[in-house]
Amino acid sequence: MEMVPVSWYLLLAALLFAIGTAGALTRRNGITIFLSIELMLNSVNLTLVAYSRMLNDQTGQVLVFFVLAVAAAEAAVGLALFIAIYRHRRTIDLNRMNLLRW
């Protein structure tokens, strides 16, 4: 069976990473940025899995589990923070989160 070439996975991962980066940089809504960061993390996961298959080494796939665990924890903490901020300030627009300036 013809295998999908690794370069395709990598291209897809790079595309996803670029979309995630663009989203993280351009959006103002905290949740959207959060989603973008998740996208970036998952594009990295995709890369890891692709290389793992290519090199026939399970380490990459194990690492993906770690990343997923961290991403889950991050999601829990991050969302809790956003809820706290929203309760306090009635917004999650990051442009207005600038109290720590100077």
Partner: protein
């Protein structure tokens, strides 16, 4: 006993330290015992030493190294020298000094800060003895500065009033100007001779006078340069033109201080220094003539100002300036013996005059204006008699002390053919007799012109004050007998002082280097090359006496009965000159206008421009640069998380780019 010479200055220092440790809350008798005891012991010891020295039981000159101060290239010892000159000074300082200490116990009895007063006064004695006993210029300079410090402290003794601290500051600053020149002179001597020891310097000059008569600096010879520097130093300490202005103001201190420091001892330090350096001055005839001219000008100027003063202490202050001028006149003419002679006699009668005025001020409850006195002789007979004797002495009436010394100075001027200087001296003598007896008659004769309250308070001073008056009065009468000139004794030689000081007054390289004002004049009536006949000398002496008597009688006719009318007549007679005298020739104002204010403006300029603009500006510039850099960095810290993310991203791009490329 002479081996204890080092104790003579040390005792007053110990007294000062002991009183300082005892503190102001110790009982007054303790302060008195220490404060008067220390200079008393010092006086007894020095009398013993002088006896031993004078009777030839000790080597002359006697030198004693206390300890080596510095070693190496600048090797200077703390060492004392007892030679005929310092012996005379030692006697004057300890003797007059002790009696003034004793007098102070009565005068200061009701004042605050009694302990502080005696600490300073003892410290002064220490510094003054260091000055006269040192065997090199540096020890002299330490004493010189020490007496200046004590003078400052004691002038500003009443520190809670407005005028005294200012007067003290003025005295200190004006003295510093002179001290600076003194230092320069010392440096010049040290750089040439490699030592500051008197005997080493003077013997090497005497051995080779040509070494110091060549061109040195500012177109002057070495001797002239050093002499000029030393003389400028002396004008500060001894209140000569142009630095005399501090002395009249110094009267803001307690009266015994004026007697001790500003009449008898400290202000004569300049004369002592010039006489001590007579070898150098003899090799600088031009500077010597300058010394004589400045002395004569000071004598006349101060005497005229003295005519128009109403404050009894101011009269005496200007009189002191005037008499110091006499001493410099003598020293400049080469009559060093006469200068020391007048220094000694003046110490007695001027200290007595000041103490007498202090007694009067004490009785008047602090009043110093003679126009509010009058008729005090009834209540204060002892003060009156002693003051009268001192006035006769200063006026130059024989056989009192002032007559002999003043006569010797006038004779020195006449013998050297300096008739202008002689005439100035004579005129000053007449003025002195007049203004002193103006003071006597205004204060002690006529009717009392003060308030009723003051009149009820009038009393003769306690014995602690009158005894010193009597002792000094005896001195004012007899002190002149040690130096009776040959003319007065028809050629017989009774001039003890002249012979006594002979070893100190060098004869440098014969008369060749000296002008007509050379050392021969010191031997007035002796072997002077340029000598007046005895008849002429007698005529000049009688003329001087006649002028003094005229001055006294004139003062008597004007001030004895109705002093205030006499004062009006004096003002009318002098016309505009009186205004000049009363305003002290506006010298203080001129100094203020032409020196102090430009200096202050210059200082302000330095403050504003150099300090404020340049130095502070550089500092502010440094901080401004740091601040601007900080501001630039600050703009990146927006507090906006999204910006940080962008930086983060850009950073990664750069890093990756760097790794890949």
């Amino acid at each position: 006993m002479i081996q204890y010479l080092w104790l003579v200055p040390l005792l007053p220092l110990l007294g000062a330290v002991a009183n300082a440790i005892a503190g102001p809350r110790a009982p007054r008798p303790v302060h008195t015992a220490i404060g008067v005891g220390a200079p008393g012991l010092s006086m007894l010891l020095s009398l013993g030493i002088l006896w031993q020295y004078g009777t030839g039981m000790a080597p002359s000159p006697f030198e004693q190294v206390v300890y080596p101060w510095t070693v190496g290239e600048l090797a200077i010892d703390v060492a004392f020298l007892l030679d005929p000159l310092s012996a005379v000074m030692l006697f004057v300082v300890t003797f007059v000094g002790f009696w003034i200490h004793l007098y102070s116990t009565g005068y200061m009895a009701h004042e605050d800060g009694y302990q502080r007063y005696f600490v300073y006064l003892n410290l002064f004695m220490f510094a003054m003895l260091l000055l006269v006993l040192g065997n090199n210029f540096l020890v002299m300079f330490v004493g010189w500065e020490g007496v200046g410090l004590c003078s400052y402290l004691l002038i500003g003794y009443y520190y809670d009033q407005k005028v005294p601290p200012r007067a003290g500051r003025k005295a200190f600053v004006v003295n510093r100007i002179g001290d600076f020149a003194f230092l320069i002179g010392m440096f010049a001597l040290f750089s040439t001779f490699g030592t500051l020891n008197y005997q080493e310097i003077f013997s090497s000059i005497a051995a080779n006078p040509a070494a110091v008569t060549g061109e040195y600096a500012l177109g002057l010879s070495m001797a002239a340069f050093v002499a000029l520097c030393f003389f400028i130093g002396a004008t500060g300490k001894s209140a000569q033109i142009p630095l005399y202005v501090w002395l009249p103001d110094a009267m803001a201190g307690p009266t015994p201080v004026s007697a001790l420091i500003h009449a008898a001892t400290m202000v004569t330090a300049g004369v002592y220094m010039v006489v001590r350096s007579n070898v150098i001055f003899q090799l600088a005839p031009g500077i010597s003539l300058l010394v004589a001219a400045v002395g004569a000008a000071t004598a006349l100027m101060a005497a005229t100002i003295g005519l128009a003063q109403n404050d009894i202490k101011k009269v005496l202050a200007y009189s002191t300036v005037s008499q110091l001028g006499y001493m410099f006149l003598a020293a400049g003419l080469g009559a060093y013996t006469a200068a020391v002679f007048h220094l000694g006699t003046h110490a007695f009668f001027k200290a007595l005059l000041f103490l007498g005025s202090g007694s009067v001020i004490h009785a008047m409850g602090g009043e110093q204006d003679m126009r509010k006195m009058g008729g005090l002789k009834k209540q204060m007979p002892t003060t009156y008699r002693t003051f009268f004797i001192a006035s006769l002495a200063i006026a130059g009436i024989p056989p009192l002390a002032g007559f002999f010394s003043k006569d010797e100075i006038l004779a020195a001027a006449a013998n050297n053919g300096h008739w202008i200087l002689w005439f100035v001296g004579l005129a000053t003598a007449g003025l002195t007799a007049f203004y002193m007896f103006r003071a006597v008659f205004m204060t002690f004769h006529g009717d009392f012109r003060g308030t009723q309250e003051q009149e009820d308070h009038l009393h003769e001073s306690p014995p602690s004050m009158t005894v010193p008056l009597i002792v000094l009065a005896v001195g004012a009468v007899t002190a002149g007998w040690v130096g009776i000139s040959k003319v007065l004794t028809f050629g017989r030689d009774f001039n003890w002082l002249h012979h006594w000081l002979e070893p100190v007054i060098a004869t440098v390289g014969g008369g060749g280097h000296l002008g007509e004002g050379g050392h021969e004049a010191a031997g007035h009536g002796g072997e002077a090359a340029h000598h007046l006949s005895m008849g002429v000398e007698w005529a000049l002496i009688l003329l001087a006496i006649a002028i003094a008597v005229t001055g006294i009688l004139l003062a008597r006719s004007m001030f004895a009965k109705r002093a205030l009318e006499g004062e009006e007549r004096l003002i009318a007679a002098l016309g505009p000159a009186h205004r000049a005298f009363a305003n002290k020739y506006w010298v203080d104002e001129a100094y203020d206008r032409f020196i102090i204010r430009p200096l202050a403006a210059l200082s302000r300029g330095f403050w504003k421009v150099v300090d404020g603009f340049i130095i502070d500006g550089l500092l502010h510039l440094t901080s401004a640069v740091a601040e601007i850099l900080g501001d630039l960095g600050r703009f990146s810290t927006t507090g906006n998380v999204r910006n940080y993310v962008l930086y983060f991203f850009l950073g990664i791009v750069v890093l990756l780019g760097w790794i890949i490329l």
